[in-house]
């Protein structure tokens, strides 16, 4: 199966052909995928070199002239290194852009912590007005990229990962998708962690919601789900554990509820190896998830 990132350049290259507002801004990473597009649109595919502050600042300038910039590099260099540019050049200027990251939380474990960004979504949560898409399959990535670029002048973050579910689902860029119905709790599975959650909760009497657009958080879907499944909620997120706990609390602020936030641990692992090994170390493999979800919901009864 190809990866979400394999889809990025072909999809955005087509959008460059279709929409004269679209511009791509790169900082070396990912430029090979745009070799053909840069020949067709030399002024709308810009590689600024290894300069991530300029990457975001230039995107803001493009937006202020009416363009729709799509900005790409690894998450750690897109959100974390130029965070003040994200906050001021986009947010404070009231300028929009589509930030598309790769490498996710630990897509390249052998590369170590310098290329990991489990805190990216939590960081964006400190800012106002960001839409955050976390596709769980290359087909969904394609759909959500198109949604992101078409979203007027909105500020949109698309988080691409090599981790993926076996099949894609019909995502709409807004809503959580009910995947399984039950009566003894709600599990919100985000993006590429859906398959592990479905394996983990096999045979358990739980509702599973699939979330690929996590900001804005579909609190209405969560409330609907709690109507039959109760207000014990487990979040399973492929980034920092508990990132969306505040959004769950807000959605359920008027009812007694419990929340368990599962995700990537805050403590630096200092291990290399493979993606599966890191998933297990963070308790995000199906076996660990089954144990942790079961313990939490068992305590509630």
């Amino acid at each position: 199966m190809d990866t979400m990132r394999d889809r990025f350049a072909p999809v955005v290259s087509r959008l460059l052909d279709e929409d004269p507002r679209v511009a791509v801004v790169l900082a070396e990473i990912g430029k090979d995928g745009f070799a053909e597009a840069v020949r067709r649109h030399p002024d709308r595919v810009v590689n600024v070199g290894i300069r991530e502050q300029l990457l975001v600042g230039a995107a803001a300038g493009l937006a202020l002239t009416g363009m729709r910039p799509v900005v790409h590099t690894f998450a750690s260099f897109l959100v974390e290194r130029p965070f003040e540019q994200v906050k001021l050049d986009l947010g404070h200027q009231d300028a929009g852009a589509v930030l598309v990251s790769a490498a996710a939380s630990y897509d390249w474990p052998a590369g170590g912590y310098t290329h990991m960004a489990p805190g990216d979504v939590a960081l964006l949560d400190t800012l106002d007005g960001w839409t955050v898409h976390v596709p769980g399959h290359p087909d969904e990535a394609e759909t959500l990229l198109r949604h992101a670029v078409a979203a007027g002048d909105d500020k949109v973050y698309v988080r691409l990962s090599v981790q993926a579910n076996a099949g894609g689902r019909p995502v709409d860029g807004e809503s959580f998708l009910p995947v399984r119905q039950g009566r003894s709790g709600v599990v919100v599975a985000v993006g590429p962690l859906l398959d592990a959650v479905l394996d983990a909760t096999e045979g358990m009497d739980l509702t599973v919601l699939y979330a690929t657009t996590v900001r804005p958080f579909d609190g209405a879907a969560l409330r609907r789900a709690t109507g039959t499944a109760g207000t014990d909620v487990v979040l399973v997120e492929p980034y920092l554990a508990g990132t969306s706990a505040g959004a769950v609390n807000e959605a359920l602020s008027d009812v007694p509820h419990r929340v368990l936030g599962l995700g990537v641990g805050r403590r630096e692992l200092r291990r290399y190896g493979r993606v599966e090994e890191h998933a297990a170390a963070h308790g995000l493999d199906a076996r660990s998830l089954r144990e942790r979800i079961g313990n939490f919901l068992g305590q509630g009864r």
């Binding site: 300029l54 202020l64 001021l88 200027q93």
Partner: protein, 235 residues
Amino acid sequence: MTITEERGRAYGYADLPGLMSLMTGDEKHGPAATSTLDVLWVLYDRVLRVSPRRVDDPERDRFLLSKGHGPMAYYAVLAAKGFLPVAWLTGFGSYDSPLGHHPDRTLVPGVEIGSGSLGHGLPIAVGTALGLRAQGREAPGVWTLIGDAELDEGSNHEAIAFAGPAGLERLHTVVVDNSSASHALPGGIAARFEAAGWSAVTVDGRDHEALYAAFTAPHPGRPHVVVARVEPKSA
């Protein structure tokens, strides 16, 4: 020389100190404010193709004040040129005023960027020049004003290093040099830009004719920097 009028009153360069004196409460930024006064006046009076009636015109020149500290001279010039009412100046920095100690583009007509945090204007100006070029708008000039100490920010060096090879001919930077950097650039400010392929001129930042000549000097195929030297901040 000035043609702007508000309620029958035309404002010229001689009125700027009086307009600036209407703004109180940011005295710590006073030297920063006066250092930019002549540069701003010459730009808005003789160079920039902007006016209160064309703040949304895509063909207008863009002026991005990166050095948002001490914006009194900027507000005074904008008021003199009719972008904002002179009556706003007295509210400077108050809760109900659109005029803060750092400007906000969403609150003040004619202000292209919100600034105050250093090192943002030039990278945004680079993107603005790229955006105009991508849309085939050859006419508008893009200008940004930074300070010599602001030039310490690495984001500016990213922008300088990119804009030269990218041949951003419509991009202009004015560095107001009041010798406020603790560790000045070895070899001088202009040399740093020239090394990256920019056209560069260094002039007396109080001499209006010299500024005008520097601002309008041809620089085919290259971005252009004007280093405007004024009296040292500590003087």
